[in-house]
């Protein structure tokens, strides 16, 4: 299918032998905003890294455009990555550069635009995230939420075709959250890009995304448009959408029985 810019096909991956993903299938149609949701530690960030080619799948493949990511050589991978922008979970701003230079970084590295043009572009991107006034601050002088917004401006600096947002809402106040939602939507439509949003925030996400994947236990547990999922009777989805504590989604990392763990100290 050609209208899917990113496709994940029967993907398995694990760190150090412990399999994290066990055959995931997802497709991301061009021009849409797709959310990936799942519990903490369910491997959402890892999926983004696999799409970016920073990790190699154990089985299956990720295709971007028509290219299988893990089969690309060094140069082709670089070419592929230039089509992507990624907002990292912790921002990952360059701490030795100012806000302005952080946003200008991809432009300086990949284009030979004149300084005046770079300046205009940086101002535009910073204005979009409401931080034009903070351009001269160092990256270390920002609050967590501000850093996330600058990182967002940096991620879209080169107008990528695929934008990946890892937890764009964490640490934002409700107003900025709304602003960022609109921003993601506007950027997506203005650039004709495709957006992947990893988030926990069901309410916000459902308000603006086109499609949602739920990841649990290493597989896609549910998928659909927000409207479909709201109506879903799957206990798992129901629990997640309504934020209930009791239900099939485990809060705990796989562990032996709690009671036995607690008692073990006394046995010895």
């Amino acid at each position: 299918m050609t209208d899917n810019i990113v496709e994940i096909d029967n993907l398995s991956f694990g760190y150090k032998g412990r399999l994290l993903h066990k055959g995931i299938n997802m497709s991301f149609p061009r021009g849409k905003i797709v959310a990936i949701m799942g519990g903490s530690g369910s491997g959402k960030t890892t999926i983004l890294r696999l799409i970016g080619g920073q990790l190699k799948p154990v089985k299956g493949e990720v295709r971007v455009g028509d290219k299988v990511v893990h089969e690309q050589g060094r140069n082709d991978l670089q070419k592929l990555r230039r089509k992507m922008g990624m907002l990292f979970q912790m921002g990952a701003l360059f701490t030795d550069l100012s806000v302005y230079e952080n946003v200008a970084f991809p432009m300086r590295e990949h284009t030979s635009l004149p300084e005046t043009m770079i300046r205009d572009l940086v101002m535009m991107k910073l204005n979009a995230v409401g931080l034009r006034g903070a351009r001269d601050l160092m990256a270390t002088e920002l609050s967590g939420g501000m850093a996330r917004r600058v990182a967002l401006a940096r991620a879209v600096a080169l107008d990528p075709e695929i934008i990946m947002y890892d937890e764009p809402f964490a640490g934002l106040d409700p107003i900025s959250m709304g602003v960022i939602c609109n921003l993601i939507r506007n950027l997506n439509d203005a650039l004709g890009a495709t957006s992947l949003v990893v988030t926990h925030d069901v309410k916000e996400a459902f308000s603006f995304v086109d499609y949602v994947y739920f990841v649990a236990d290493g597989v896609v547990a549910a998928e659909g448009t927000p409207a479909e999922l709201r109506e879903s009777t799957l206990p798992f989805v129901h629990q997640f959408v309504h934020g209930e504590v009791d239900g099939p989604v485990p809060f705990h990392y796989a562990a032996p029985d709690y009671r036995r763990d607690m008692l073990r100290g006394r046995d010895v």
């Binding site: 970016g52 992507m84 990624m86 912790m90 990952a92 701003l93 360059f94 970084f105 590295e109």
Partner: protein, 266 residues
Amino acid sequence: MSSKAVSKLASALQNFGHRLIDQFWRLGSASRLFGYTLASSGESLRRPFLVIREIYFTGVLSLIIILVSAFFVGMVLALQGYNTLQKYGSSEAIGVLVALSLVRELGPVVTALLFAGRAGTAITAEIGLMKATEQLSAMEMMAVSPIARVIAPRFWGGVISMPLLASLFSMVGILGGYLVAVPLIGVDGGAFWSQMQASVDFREDVMNGFIKSCVFGVACTMIALFEGYDAPPTAEGVSRATTRTVVNSSLAVLGLDFVMTSFMIS
């Protein structure tokens, strides 16, 4: 021997073997990083400001500690040397003693040790933190190679700074020695310089010292970069890596110094 002791010994041996293999493994990855760094150097040398910036952080910011230490080392050398030489009635040779010890050994070696403590730790901590905060990952995702953009400029910054720092160390040390020997003790100034010039050879002493400092520059900077790049991305990992930078750089400097000296003297 009880079986407990045997198993203890076995586990100690196993532990030792494991660490040995680990070290070889690390040596291998360090060499690979070195190779990549050299291969990516063209890219970063084409943008001189990247390297200039690193010369500023490693070289210029190390100046104070290097100059002050050099001055004191020179003065102490002159004081100690004078005490001994005077017994043999050749206190004019003090200039020779100060200059030769500095140019041949102390200049390159002490500079490299101070460099490891001042600039090396800073490099390791910076790279380690960049890794821990995903800055290197982010760079990779922007299709920018962290080795070309972050590692290579720092490498060349260190390699260029070290011989300059070592030359300054030797020169300032000799000035310190001069100040103690001539105005303070009263050795003849003319004899101080002329005996020094007669005995210090450009090729054998000055050049060899320079070569040593270049080699130390490569070793210290590369160790600092590797430890940072290889550090586990946690606060503890970075702090351990910083310690390892100082220990490994110092050992490397002293070991290389012995090897090079034995080649240069023969």
